[in-house]
Amino acid sequence: MCKRSKINKMKFLLFSLLTVLLFGCSNPENKSAFTGELPKQNVAPVGTISSESLYQLTDTFQTQDNKEITLSSFEGKPTVVGMIFTHCTYACPRLTADIKNIEGKLKDENAKVNFLLVSFDSERDRPEQLKKFANGAGLDENWTLLHGSEKAVRTLSVLLNVQFEKDAEGNFSHSNVISVLDKNGVLAFQKEGLEADPAEILAAIKKLQ
């Protein structure tokens, strides 16, 4: 009887010791690995991108009004996104014009949509330059132009499947992609190429409203 209780006591001791050791070993640090905090759980159904939000990125960007923001500040409305650089002479004005065309076609509903241009040019496209570009192109308060670090811009380009490369003169060759994010920041629609028929994009935006 006594022996048994001894064994039990031993077992109990061992058990508590193991518990202490086990929990002592588990890493209390929850260090962020990517660009900041990522959601702790995988919310996405396996193999789909549809429930994945770009608003998880914690990189900060600066607007044309020199405001520090993260992409999540566009939450709540569908967002039309293009990537450009303002020293670009040919494709970017056309990409901007394409998005302006979409804005025009939305008419009264355009206030329910965010229009976003993110610059490839971390060096030259600082807020003041973006402001100048916005004024020159007649972009109103529905539009946000963003400057970000090289890392932040590259990450966004990877997520938006936009290819770009800086050349020796500091200009960029890049693919022209218009993306539509839903109000939760999930990629909903993409169109590649210039002067594309806006009908498809308009339909995609309307579906999200």
């Binding site: 001791l13 050791l21 690995a33 494709a91």
Partner: protein
């Protein structure tokens, strides 16, 4: 009293085991890659050779064992927790479980980690206070003259590698050649992620010249390559262009780089 003695004994034993299990802080050796000029492979009128500053690069690709330490310290990068936006369903699929490469996989503990996404590679390098090399840096580093290969040229070596089927068990790092910078396995073992793998390869910011037409047909970019005989490089660029950031592929790994202070 005997309980106390056994208790202390147990503590002592576990204490030692615990101390032994502590990961050894091991700094991966980095080597210097000297400054150079990188001529973009797909050249257009506007892209001249780019100056690449000297930098440091991991001597070998990051191994499974090294990556396991990262996963242990960063729970959001465990296989069962990783976000699909940042890694597809093949992420670390060759491991036994979240925190185990697997006893039966002992042979690959020291082999390059593969089935990792660009985001995972980026996160790993950031964790080590390093970064991924740019395409220009990687290509410059890979151009280093091999010290010990049988083939006549590096191109011959690479093309020979491309003709070999993937081995059932990925060999350990340092199992191929070392180059003049001291880098191992820049070719011959795996493909590697670069920071700007999604670089553009055929310009669309063209000013109404013939490049507009070029992009309309298959392999158009090949007409502009800087050295048409370098089929090996062409394949590497095509491979990169086909990737997306969350892809995890059985022959694609990475190594980290760092600026000189």
């Amino acid at each position: 009293m005997r309980y106390f003695i056994s208790f202390f004994l147990i503590i002592a034993v576990f204490g030692t085991v615990n101390a032994q299990k502590k990961p050894v802080v091991f700094e991966k050796k980095m080597v210097l890659v000297t400054a150079g000029k990188y001529k973009p492979f797909f050249s257009t009128k506007s892209n001249k050779p780019v100056a690449v500053a000297a930098f440091k690069m991991d001597e070998t690709a990051v191994t499974n064992q090294e990556f396991l330490e990262f996963v242990k310290a960063n729970p959001q990068w465990r296989r069962s927790k990783v976000n699909r936006l940042f890694a597809d369903t093949n992420y670390l699929r060759h491991w036994k479980s979240d925190l185990s490469i697997g006893e039966s996989n002992k042979k690959i503990y020291n082999s390059p980690v593969v089935n990792v996404s660009w985001f995972a590679a980026e996160a790993y390098c950031k964790w080590k206070n390093k970064r991924l090399a740019t395409v220009a840096e990687w290509e410059l580093a890979a151009r280093g003259v091999p010290k010990n290969i049988k083939q006549k040229s590096l191109t011959d070596y690479i093309l020979n590698w491309y003709t070999q089927p993937n081995l059932p068990v990925l060999p350990n790092v340092k199992s191929t050649y070392q180059n003049e910078f001291g880098l191992y396995d820049m070719n011959g073992l795996i493909w590697e992620w670069t920071f700007n793998f999604n670089s553009f390869i055929a310009s669309t910011d063209s000013r109404g010249n013939d490049e507009d037409e070029l992009k309309n047909f298959c392999a158009a970019g090949a007409l502009n390559v800087s050295d048409k005989s370098d089929y090996a490089t062409y394949l590497r660029f095509s491979y990169r262009a086909s990737l997306k950031g969350n892809y995890c592929i059985p022959n694609l790994g990475f190594r980290c780089a760092k600026d000189l202070k």
